[in-house]
Symmetry: C2
């Protein structure tokens, strides 16, 4: 067992989080993570309407009696999403842990606080972490350049970002981006964090509700098989480096507009990839930690392995290094 | 005290290395690092001729009776350097530890091995690490995207690069790029390494033979103040993000040739920066770990602080996390 301020604050067994992942964070995965003693999040906007989210929360509850949360990513979208109504659905459903990401969650905090919800805000820079702490979130999920999805535009890896953030942020912080095993968990603790968030690693689990082809591709790929799209628009996204991603980057290089590139990078096509296993159908998210993923375990096997190997490393290699 | 396979192999007290730094790795710094119980390297090519290197080694010996090494960076230069003669100077001077960087050191290994020299090869990818192990180097210094100088073109941060390399490399490996404090050292051990290499952190020490302005600029800057130049030429270099670096990047964006950009990025101008403290005179190297550097200690203070805080973390925070 590894206990930290984070496990205590959120009442979970292990300091491991499965954060929001568009199209992936559904009841099958989140309940399996919860049953493994880690903290899983349903991805709010994966559900087309607030009512669908209500149903998904209910479905997840039927699969676990352990705590889980809901992710709400607040970003400008082509079709505006009714964030307030999603939050109502979260509150009505009795959810007590929310992961926010994207924009500053300040406008939504009073309502959530009043409902007794603890908020973890995901951000990609020290300054945004400081802002989030100031507006009153309960914990920070700090996301480095390694991550799948949105790493921001600063390109600061976690080895530097996490301790720099830990120098100034007082609330519990978990480390996100580049984590896949016990070595990463111990490194995160050393770098000033209280746990890790993993995305890509949880995609390659038996319970992740995505096509087996995607899982096997993650296993067979390495740390060099990602691509950064939309850099020129300062809306960088790290995705699997397939032909669609490289086409998008080529179009950016040619000065094409977002309207022209849009159809190539439409997230809805990623949904089809996950459903059909057609890996070149569209862009789909994957992080650099693919280089550390070599199997498709159950969530329980994965979480227990990470925790037991981390304990073993602290008791073994690290303790021995200072005992000599 | 922290003992690892690396400290044993190289007969040093602490698992901390001050690797080669052009214009910075001179006798003043390297001897101070050696006297602090860490492993310092004179930068071979900072000396204009092999005979000058002989003199510099002698000068360093007069300042320490502890082991130190010489770095030899094998890269194409505008004016070809007589690497064989530099190696003769190293061997003749009785140096027993060499850090190679840049190209594969294979052609130079037999001569060094015959002279009883142990070779640490610095590289920036798993595949180059495997090659170096195969040709017979004794240890690897694995350099992530965080680093000052040449991070390669893969952009893989150490959080992923190090454990991915540790999965396949059997000889001792030290971690380079992004390291500046005890947190980094413990993280490096957790990620599968046997010590850390630090460059930028050693620049901001009392003994570093560079202008005080440079040291103070490192202290006042953060993790966002570096710039990557020569990306478009696939010869990326991470340098301090001053006006000269940004001008070079602008010229690259305009499609200017290396002949046109060359005068802006000439390394010899960095030498003038270090000598005069005119921070905008030319490009000079600095890594992302500037965000973790807040003082200008002596090398002895720095090394002892890192080791004692690392021990404290292993005995304290980490041991407590698993004892709960």
């Amino acid at each position: 067992m590894i206990k930290t301020r984070f496990t205590e604050m959120f009442g979970i067994k292990h300091p491991i989080v499965q954060g929001g992942m568009q199209w992936v964070g559904r009841a099958e995965l989140t309940s399996a993570v919860a049953n493994a003693g880690a903290l899983g999040f349903l991805t709010g906007l994966t559900q087309p309407t607030p009512d669908d989210l209500r149903k998904e929360i209910k479905r997840c509850r039927e699969m676990t009696d352990q705590p889980f949360g809901v992710n709400l990513t607040i970003l400008p979208t082509l079709v505006p999403r009714p964030y307030g109504e999603y939050i109502d659905a979260i509150i009505d459903s009795g959810i007590k842990i929310v992961e926010t990401a994207g924009n500053n969650p300040k406008p939504f905090l009073p309502k959530m606080k009043e409902a007794g919800i603890k908020v973890i805000h995901k951000c990609t820079s020290v300054r945004h972490g400081i802002s989030a702490e100031k507006v009153g979130v309960d914990a920070i999920s700090m996301d480095g350049f390694e991550c799948a999805g949105h790493p921001g535009e600063d390109d600061v890896p976690n080895l530097v970002l996490l301790p720099a953030a830990a120098n100034v942020i007082k609330i519990p912080m978990i480390a996100s981006g580049g984590f896949a095993d016990a070595r990463g968990l111990v490194a995160a603790l050393a770098l000033g964090c209280e746990g890790v968030n993993m995305g890509t690693r949880f995609m390659a689990t038996k319970e992740a509700p995505i096509h087996q082809n995607v899982k096997e591709k993650i296993v067979s790929s390495d740390e060099r098989n990602t691509a950064l799209i939309l850099r020129t628009m300062r809306n960088t996204s790290r995705v699997y480096g397939n032909s669609v991603a490289h086409k998008a980057i080529e179009m950016e290089g040619e000065g094409k507009t977002i309207q022209e590139i849009g159809p190539y990078v439409a997230g809805a096509k990623g949904k089809v990839v996950y459903e059909t296993g057609d890996l070149e159908h569209g862009i789909w998210s994957a992080g650099t930690c693919m280089g550390l993923i070599n199997d498709i375990p159950t969530c329980k096997e994965l979480v227990e392995r990470i925790v037991s190997e981390a304990e073993e490393m602290i008791r073994g290699k690290l303790a021995k290094a200072i005992a000599a």
